[in-house]
């Protein structure tokens, strides 16, 4: 079967058709021949028996009246049966009475006593008793040549063979036409598959012939090709995109490096996995090391041991999350001295948000750092001085105020008009000086306040502030309202001071209308954001920053009295707690002051500076 398996389908179909035809014909033919030979033999036996009886009957008289000639004529009547080879008539005694020979070579067989018809390989021996009126008077024997049966078989066989040949030719002709019904669609499929695999062109489609299983197969094949074609186009596009992206990255990398070489800072780039693949010349110069020594993670050897752990932790965090890297730490210079640096790095991403590379800079901030420390010390000294001064100033100021009052009470009658006016100037100056010194004290205290872990109700702080301002509020017919307010981690006195200063400002800088002041708070991320909104005269945007400076008053006329230190105190307090204060306003449309307070308390002490200094 193996050679058959490798034949083309069209030849297989032809073979199948021819084989089935041949098998059917041979089976039918041999059945017919076999049945016919059986039927014919039975018929022959009956026929020969009847013939024998007739000839025997006709021989009775000849036997009875001793007439061998008549008997011979009777036997000769068998001549018309061409397969009768010869016949013999025996009398009752078994003596041969008459003979008929078709050919001279015939010898009479002995009469059989038993069976009427005896069969040999090639002939039938028929023995018929000659009976006259119930008495046997002799025996007829004749020999029938069975060559006829072989002839019949040969005839039938050649007929079957001829039919087989004829039907084979017809089957061949028919199946050559019919098999194209099966083999043509398959050939079309094969052709399509071959040309696809040879050319790699997935646009090729198999021709569909008919709606049978092969048609279905062609459809599925074409569907598959369509899908492959789509996939391939997508793949091509993806590869093209990727190549473009890689080219872009490479171009970016080259540009970054080119720029980096021309910059005074130390610049590096890193792969998305965080390993550094480029340092600029400034790096090499600064560290005195080669690229190979510090590439990938080799730069870690340059980090001050105290900063190393946090540095690595933050860098890993950035690489994992893609968040920018930002850290102040110390780097070892070529001469072995550690210098403060600000290291920053940001991820460069493609349009799909994937990180292409990291670009980082390391800026030396040693001098800045030192100046900062100097400044801080100077500032602290100044604060200390301001506090001591204002504290020490209170006593002489009080003396000026008290004694100017006593002089006014007891000696005003003794003074002339000018004297009394001068005295009034002294009293007024003394009062203002007292307020000024108080505010200064408050301001310096705010910077030195201790942070607290306890929470306070901001609404209570607001109520106290409003209560302290009740006189000014009543005088100005102001209306102060507030929403639900949260609990915050703050000293109550500090929050109260902030509220008090902001509400006082709102009342003070009112417009023609009675002041309407509203306080609310909402959660914004890790902060509570408070707002104090008024309908006052507003603030020109260009002064938004200035108003928080010490002694920065915008209005010097007497209409708006004050020391100009209130908002500075607010800013100091808020920043002390880690928050921020700012104002949004349009002149004439009122102003809204915002300040934020962390929801969770800050680390005690100035945390950033402490770590940077560590």
């Amino acid at each position: 079967m193996t050679p058959f398996r490798d034949l083309p389908i069209r030849q297989k179909l032809l073979l199948i058709a021819m084989l089935t035809t041949a098998v059917a014909l041979v089976a039918a033919g041999s059945t017919i021949v076999f049945a016919d030979s059986l039927l014919f033999q039975a018929f022959l036996r009956r026929d020969l028996s009847a013939l024998a009886r007739i000839v025997a009957e006709n021989s009775t008289a000849a036997l009875s009246f001793q007439d061998p000639q008549a008997a011979g004529e009777t036997l000769a009547s068998l001549h018309s049966r061409v397969h009768v080879v010869g016949a013999c008539l025996y009398d009752a005694a078994g003596v041969q009475f008459a003979v008929y020979r078709r050919s001279p070579g015939f010898n009479c067989p002995a009469p059989s006593q038993g069976e009427r018809i005896r069969e040999s390989r090639d002939a039938l021996y028929v023995s018929e008793p000659v009976v006259l009126r119930g008495s046997r008077i002799g025996t007829l024997v004749f020999v029938y040549d069975l060559g006829e049966i072989d002839e019949r078989i040969a005839l039938y066989g050649s007929l079957v063979l001829a039919v087989l040949l004829g039907s084979g030719i017809i089957a061949f002709a028919l199946s050559s036409r019919l098999r194209s019904l099966v083999s043509a669609p398959i050939a079309a499929l094969v052709e399509a598959a071959m040309s696809v695999s040879e050319t790699g062109d997935y646009g090729i489609r198999a021709r569909k012939v008919g709606n049978d299983e092969l048609g279905l197969l062609a459809d599925r094949f074409n569907d598959m090709l369509t899908r492959i074609e789509q996939r391939e186009n997508e793949l091509k596009r993806a590869i093209a995109d990727r190549e473009t992206a890689l080219r872009d990255v490479e171009r970016e990398r080259q540009r970054v490096r080119f720029m980096a070489e021309s910059m005074p800072q130390k610049i590096f780039t890193a792969l998305p996995d965080g390993s550094v693949d480029y340092f600029n010349a400034q790096w090499m110069e600064y560290t005195g090391l080669t690229f190979e020594q510090i590439r990938d993670w080799g730069w870690t050897r340059l980090i001050h041991p105290d900063d190393l752990e946090e540095n690595v932790r933050l860098w890993r965090h950035s690489v994992e999350t893609g968040e920018p890297f930002h850290l102040e730490h110390r780097f070892r210079r070529a001469d072995g001295v550690y210098r403060w640096h600000l290291s920053r790095a940001r991820a460069m991403r493609d349009s799909g948000g994937r990180i292409l590379m990291w670009i980082g800079s390391n800026t030396e901030i040693q001098e800045q750092k030192e100046k900062e420390a100097d400044l801080r010390r100077a500032n602290e000294d100044l604060q200390q001085f301001a506090y001591s001064a204002s504290h020490d100033l209170q006593e002489p100021i009080r003396n000026v105020a008290v004694y100017s009052e006593i002089v006014a009470d007891r000696y005003s009658a003794q003074l002339d008009e000018d004297g009394r006016q001068f005295l009034e100037f002294i009293r007024e100056g003394g009062r203002r000086l007292a307020v000024l010194v108080n505010d200064l004290l408050a301001y310096t205290r705010a910077s030195m306040a201790e942070l607290t872990e306890t929470t306070i109700d901001s609404a209570a702080a607001l109520r106290n502030a409003v209560s302290n301002l009740s006189e000014a509020i009543r005088e100005s017919s102001a209306v102060v309202t507030w929403d639900a307010l949260p609990e915050v981690h703050m000293g109550e006195a500090h929050l109260q001071q902030v509220f008090q200063n902001l509400v006082a400002n709102a009342v003070k800088y009112r417009s023609a209308a009675p002041p309407a002041i509203h306080i609310s708070a909402l959660r914004a991320g890790d902060f509570w954001r408070f707002s104090v909104q008024d309908n006052g005269i507003g603030i020109d945007p260009k002064y938004r920053e200035r108003i928080f400076g010490v002694f920065k008053r915008l209005h010097h006329d007497r209409k708006y009295s004050g020391t100009g230190i209130g908002l500075a105190i607010c800013q100091r307090v808020i920043e002390r707690y880690g928050g921020r204060i700012w104002v949004e306003s349009e002149p004439g449309l009122g102003a809204t002051f915002y300040f934020t307070i962390p929801v969770r308390p800050q680390q005690s002490g100035p945390a950033k500076l402490a770590s940077a200094a560590g």
Binding site: S64, A92, V95, R136
Partner: protein, 190 residues
């Protein structure tokens, strides 16, 4: 089981008629003496023919005196057969009738004979033949006998016994002769 094959030949042997037995005996004798087989005499052949004639002839029932009457072969006149005829007729029967032989010098009474072999002087033969009818198969010698109204006449042809048949005589006698017998007759008179 040994009994059955022993009985079968005997059962077969029984239907052998007298004539056949004669021929058998004759053939056996011929085979026994291979030198000079004793040929049967002319009268013996004729006697056998007489018996065989009865087998190819149909008689009307009126030809017999009674249903049980035997079929009688009468030898009228001189008897050429002697006891040989009696021997071959012995035990023979036809259609349930025994076959008997009777000898008479002259024509016997009507109904006594069904086959009559006449061996009379020529002058008496014609008269006797007429007297026997109807119902009797008359057999005589020579062509003259058939011409004289006899039904079958023996002739010699090349030393073989043959016979002539007068069909119109048979018809007028009320007898039917088998066509097979006629096919071996030497001549058939009208």
């Amino acid at each position: 089981m040994a009994v059955v094959p022993a009985q079968l030949p005997r059962a077969r042997a029984r239907p052998l008629s007298g004539a056949v037995a004669f021929l058998f005996a004759f053939a056996a004798a011929a085979l026994q003496s291979s030198a000079a087989p004793p040929a049967p005499t002319e009268s013996q052949v004729k006697a056998a023919f007489l018996l065989n004639f009865t087998k190819f002839t149909e008689w009307p029932a009126s030809a017999f005196p009674a249903a049980s009457s035997p079929l009688t072969i009468c030898v009228i006149g001189g008897d050429p057969f002697g006891s040989f005829l009696d021997t071959i007729v012995q035990g023979e029967s036809l259609d349930g009738r025994k076959i008997a032989v009777r000898r008479a010098p002259t024509v016997p009474d009507h109904g006594l004979c069904q086959l009559a072999y006449l061996n009379l002087p020529l002058a008496e033969t014609k008269k006797a033949v007429a007297a026997l009818q109807p119902g009797v198969l008359t057999v005589g010698e020579g062509e003259k006998f058939v011409d004289d109204g006899g039904i079958i006449g023996f002739v010699l042809d090349n030393n073989h016994v043959r016979f002539l048949v007068n069909l119109s005589a048979a018809q007028s006698a009320g007898l039917k002769l088998s066509s097979r017998m006629l096919s071996v007759a030497k001549a058939i008179g009208k």
